[in-house]
């Protein structure tokens, strides 16, 4: 019967695209273009930079030398022939960077700048750059120079592409050991953080201990400060003049130990949120079943609790691992001589101005970040399907011994976290550690220190506000277009990929990529280099993914049939967007904006390459003041960031509540 039928030949019917369709596509196109310019192109520029090598090619230059009279010329000879004869430059000497210069007089042992001998130089190919003084020459025509001028002739290297940078990187044991170091500290920190956070989350979700709300608040505090702040606190506690130094029994806090302790501090809330979510969705009925089967508590824990939370644990592990391996602030402050990948990028770029090698390290750092990202996404997908299952939430029953043990654990973690913040606060408020412990606000007088002064703080505030407003608008509109556009599958998939990509890109890598892309004079967008605009763009891009996912989740919860209904009522999409979508999603929109704000205040990694003297930032000032030895002011600036973020959080909570009360009356029955 009907099964035998086949689709008749012909053209597939395609609906004409109406004005709404075009506007949506245009919006999505603009935001996709933003992501291409702010993400894809810079990354491409960085990747290609890592393959660029510079060397002097002596075969490209020819010389002629006259006799003492300056009128009789010898035979032309190439620089390569001269070098073969003399053995002046070994092949290694001819490797260079984009700034390299090679003095030609070294090829003429008889050269004297006072002699009347004349010299001629020309290129043998179209691309044979050399400098006469400061003038760049690139010509196959002979150019005649007297000895005094010839002295100032320098060859310039020519660019080539190849794997030499990578070969050099992997054959350099100092650089290569950073990979090991990075993996080492990231692994240890991950294991510790996940264990500690699991204990904490377990206490909050599965016990009847008191003060859960307070512990939750304390556990979230590390999010509000830059990752290098725990480093400063640890120096005060365990550094050379630290008041707890004897506790280390001769170990040094500068190095892996300090990095790991600090990493546990700043990754703790991230792991806690994920694990806590995983534990909170477990099903009471499974525990009742286990109890009715007389399973021991221990057995129930391993057969019900852990499997139920496994996706959360895996996800938390990868998030922590990525955060640690890509973090730059903490190893910078407390790493001492211990090199990690993120530090290498900084050193190569800021210290040695070797951008190509910086690009190579960035590519190396990208690999673990991308692997962790891909695995995490796979796990997240499974977690979602677990979440959607209908289940009875678990209700813990009081158990005095267990509750007290859990309380003890949370107290230890709480003291650790609050202690680190408290030490910073203490350090910021005393006169001169450890000699003068009297109270002083001297350390808040940032204008007397290097690092940008109070201006840096106001810049940070401006950056955070701009990032929150512009970033949230771009992210939410982008997510709306990708979620609610009809058809246009390929375009949406491409957009989705671009929106997910930032999560896999470490901040250092993004910042370096921006140098390559925006600092290129040939780029018309070069104008934003060194301005607040590039800081906003980089920060919005760096934190794009989490905001995008939050927006998508909120949009997916809205009835998918709103759009068809509004269309059938002949209303343009933007009316539905303004009247319904935005109001309904307002809680999520506020969440995105506070997330962007807090992260813009604390971020160091991407912006450290991009700030200029008049756009110095508070988080970078912490780094620079610490670098300059002004540790107490660094702690004070760190605390300024903390106060600001804490205030922003409180304001956000109030705003959310009042907006919810006013505009979301419909939520209450």
């Amino acid at each position: 019967m009907a099964d035998a039928t086949v689709l008749p030949e012909g053209r597939n019917v395609r609906l004409r695209i109406d004005s709404d369709g075009w506007i949506k596509r245009a919006f999505m196109g603009v935001i996709a273009l933003y992501l291409v310019v702010a993400l894809a192109l810079p990354l491409y520029a960085m990747l290609s930079k890592s393959f660029v090598t510079y060397s002097f090619d002596l075969t490209r230059y020819e010389f002629q030398v006259s006799d003492e009279s300056g009128a009789v010329w010898g035979d032309p000879v190439t620089a390569a022939e001269l070098n073969d004869r003399l053995g002046e430059f070994a092949p290694d000497d001819l490797r260079s960077s984009s700034d390299g210069r090679l003095s030609v007089t070294d090829l003429f042992p008889d050269f004297s700048f006072r002699s009347p001998v004349m010299y001629r130089i020309r290129g043998t190919t179209d691309n044979a750059p050399y400098l006469v003084g400061l003038d760049l020459q690139n010509s196959t025509d002979w150019r005649e120079l007297d000895s005094n001028t010839f002295r100032r002739v320098n060859l310039r290297p020519v660019a080539d592409t190849g794997l030499q940078n990578y070969q050099e990187y992997f054959s350099n044991p100092a650089l290569f050991s950073s990979i090991e170091n990075s993996l080492y500290i990231a692994s240890i920190s991950t294991v510790l953080t996940v264990l500690f956070a699991f204990g904490f989350a377990y206490a909050i979700n599965r016990s009847c201990m008191p003060l859960k709300g307070a512990f939750r608040l304390i556990a979230m505090m590390p999010i509000l400060v830059p990752s290098l702040l725990p480093g400063i606190a640890l120096i005060y506690m365990f550094g050379n003049q630290g008041f707890l130094k004897p506790l280390l029994f001769g170990q040094s806090i500068y190095g892996p130990l300090g990095i790991v302790i600090g990493s546990v501090f700043f990754t703790f809330p991230h792991a806690l949120i994920i694990i806590s979510t995983a534990l909170s969705i477990s099903d009471q009925r499974q525990y009742e079943a286990a109890e009715s089967l007389r399973a021991s508590k221990w057995r129930t824990f391993w057969t019900v609790t852990i499997p139920g939370a496994r996706y959360g644990l895996i996800s938390a592990a990868f998030v922590t691992f990525t955060l640690v391996i890509t973090d730059f602030g903490l190893p910078k402050v407390i790493g001492g001589q211990y090199n990690v990948l993120a530090i290498d990028i900084y050193k190569q770029v800021i210290g040695q101005q070797n951008f190509e090698m910086g690009a190579v390290v960035s590519v190396v750092l990208l690999i673990p970040a991308i692997v962790a990202f891909v695995i995490d996404r796979q796990v997240q997908k499974k977690q979602v399907s677990l979440l959607s299952a209908r289940s009875v939430p678990y209700e813990p029953k009081p158990n005095r011994r267990f509750d007290m043990a859990m309380l003890a654990w949370c107290t230890i973690m709480g003291i650790f976290i609050a202690g680190i913040i408290a030490v910073c606060q203490f350090a910021a408020l005393i006169n001169y550690w450890p000699y003068d412990l009297s109270f002083s606000l001297r350390n808040y007088d940032f204008n007397k220190m290097d690092g940008g002064g109070w201006g840096a703080y106001w810049n940070s505030l401006e950056l955070a506000a701009l990032t929150a407003v512009i970033g949230t608008a771009i992210i939410f509109v982008g997510a709306y277009m990708v979620e609610k556009i009809d058809g246009f599958k390929t375009g949406r998939a491409a957009f989705q990929f671009l929106a997910m990509l930032p999560m896999a890109i470490p901040g250092m890598v993004l910042g370096l990529a921006y140098i390559f892309f925006f600092n290129n004079p040939a780029n018309p967008l070069n104008a934003i280099y060194g301005t607040m605009a590039i800081l906003v763009v980089s920060t919005v891009t760096h934190f794009y993914t989490v905001g995008h996912l939050t927006a998508l989740t909120a949009l997916k919860q809205i009835d998918a049939e709103f759009e068809p209904v509004a269309t059938s009522l002949r209303q343009p999409f933007w009316r539905l967007f303004a009247r319904v979508t935005v109001p309904v999603c307002l809680p999520a929109i506020l969440d995105i904006s506070i997330y962007m704000f807090v992260n813009a205040m604390t971020t160091v990694s991407a912006v450290v390459f991009l700030y200029s003297t008049h756009t110095a930032l508070a988080s970078v000032a912490v780094l620079n003041m610490d670098d300059a030895g002004d540790i107490a002011p660094a702690a004070a600036m760190g605390m300024m960031i903390f106060y600001t973020n804490a205030t922003a959080r409180v304001l956000h909570a109030f705003a959310s509540r009042s907006i919810l009360r006013r505009t979301q009356a419909w939520r209450v029955r």
Partner: protein, 376 residues
């Protein structure tokens, strides 16, 4: 089978065609969700697309709405070819199973949503909203939010919003499925009344046969992406065109057998039928509805009459308005026969489990379908 699907315009011939679908196909990859669908709907008609889930009825509705375009085929609405028009340029109101009421807007804002933005004066819009609220019988709920209303009330608001703009076509996608049984029955009637009052051409998608039978002027029964039958509710019920329709709408006893000379043989019993156009010896499925099994007093020793069977009651199940009865007959061998007997019949014939009686399967009620198709 496509001949039997030729469009029959009985009962609606007086009205001109409003919606015409011709040669519609829909492919999702290799899967064909709609296969060569052709259909005409008259002005003011109430049509139900009825079928099990996955039969393509919602796909067909979404093609008509321009939400998911068909892969091949043409749709005309009011004489205009709308096959390639985007949804915004078509002329319909739609009500979904979820109601899709805007949760942050009050009832009156919801209804007014399609009226605003049309340069209409505010007072006129307000008047129209009041009129619509009266029409759906919820005049005092204007300032409430959707979440404060019951499911049935929300459904009526969704309906009011859809008809506010006076659409030429009203599309209802399983509008009653999310409601309680009682509310559903009540709303069926109300929607039908409203539709008649407004005279708006309406297509309703449903998987509930009762809903379709009680509301529709004509029913389009669909299965596996094809139309099995188009007809009025009584036609569909009384003269199902295919075994699928017979099975899907109401209940049937079905037995595989062969056809010869206007009759089918089941075990020792020969049942006369009114079937025509079948070759002798053709494999067929005989179907008879349980309520068409008529009880007669047992006539022991009397000469066997055609289409009468002596049966024994194996079990009886009380279902409120009737008894569902499991019958066996030596003539039928192992094949069981189910009958629905009214309370009266049970009392009159003194029926109980273990009792014997004679039942008649009237020749005009014995349906015969050729076997060999997927449903056979």
């Amino acid at each position: 089978m496509s001949e039997s699907k030729a469009v029959v315009m009985q009962g609606a011939a007086a009205e001109p065609t409003y919606l015409k679908i011709e040669g519609l196909w829909k492919a999702f990859g290799d899967f064909l969700a709609l296969k060569d669908i052709s259909l005409e709907i008259a002005q003011g008609e109430f049509i139900c697309f009825l079928g099990p889930s996955g039969c393509g009825k919602t796909t067909l509705l979404r093609a008509v709405a321009g939400l998911d375009p068909q892969t091949r085929g043409t749709i005309w609405q009011g004489g205009r070819d709308i096959s390639e028009l985007p949804a915004s340029q078509r002329d319909y109101g739609i009500v979904f199973q979820s109601y899709a009421l805007f949760p942050n807007l009050t009832v009156e804002r919801n209804i007014a949503f399609g009226l605003e933005n049309t340069r209409r004066p505010r007072a006129e819009i307000a008047a129209r909203v009041r009129e619509l609220l009266d029409l759906v019988g919820l005049p005092d709920q204007a300032r409430k939010y959707p979440a404060q209303l019951s499911g049935g009330q929300q459904q009526r608001i969704a309906l009011a919003r859809a008809i506010a703009i006076n659409p030429g076509l009203l599309l209802l996608d399983e509008p009653l499925s999310a409601l309680d049984a009682k509310v559903r029955v009540h709303l069926r009637h109300e929607i039908k009344e409203l539709q008649r009052k407004l005279g708006v051409t309406t297509i309703m998608v449903t998987h509930d046969q009762e809903e379709a039978l009680s509301m529709a002027d004509r029913i389009v029964v669909m299965n596996h992406g094809v139309i099995e039958q188009i007809g009025t509710p009584t036609e569909i019920y009384r003269q199902p065109a295919t075994l699928f329709v017979a099975d899907f709408i109401g209940e049937t006893n079905r037995v595989a057998t062969t056809y010869s000379d206007g009759a089918v043989t089941i075990g020792d019993a020969v049942l006369q039928t009114h079937a025509v156009g079948l070759a002798n010896g053709a494999p067929v499925t005989m179907a008879v509805r349980p309520e068409d099994v008529l009880p007669h007093a047992s006539a022991d020793g009397a000469a066997p009459r055609p289409n009468h069977l002596d049966v024994r009651i194996e079990a009886m199940e009380f279902l409120g308005s009737y008894w569902r009865t499991h019958l066996t007959s030596p003539a039928l061998g192992d094949t069981p026969l189910f009958a629905n007997f009214s309370m009266n019949a049970v009392r009159r014939f003194g029926l109980s489990a273990g009792a014997s009686l004679t039942v008649e399967l009237p020749a005009e009620r014995v349906l015969v379908f050729p076997r060999g198709g997927e449903d056979g």
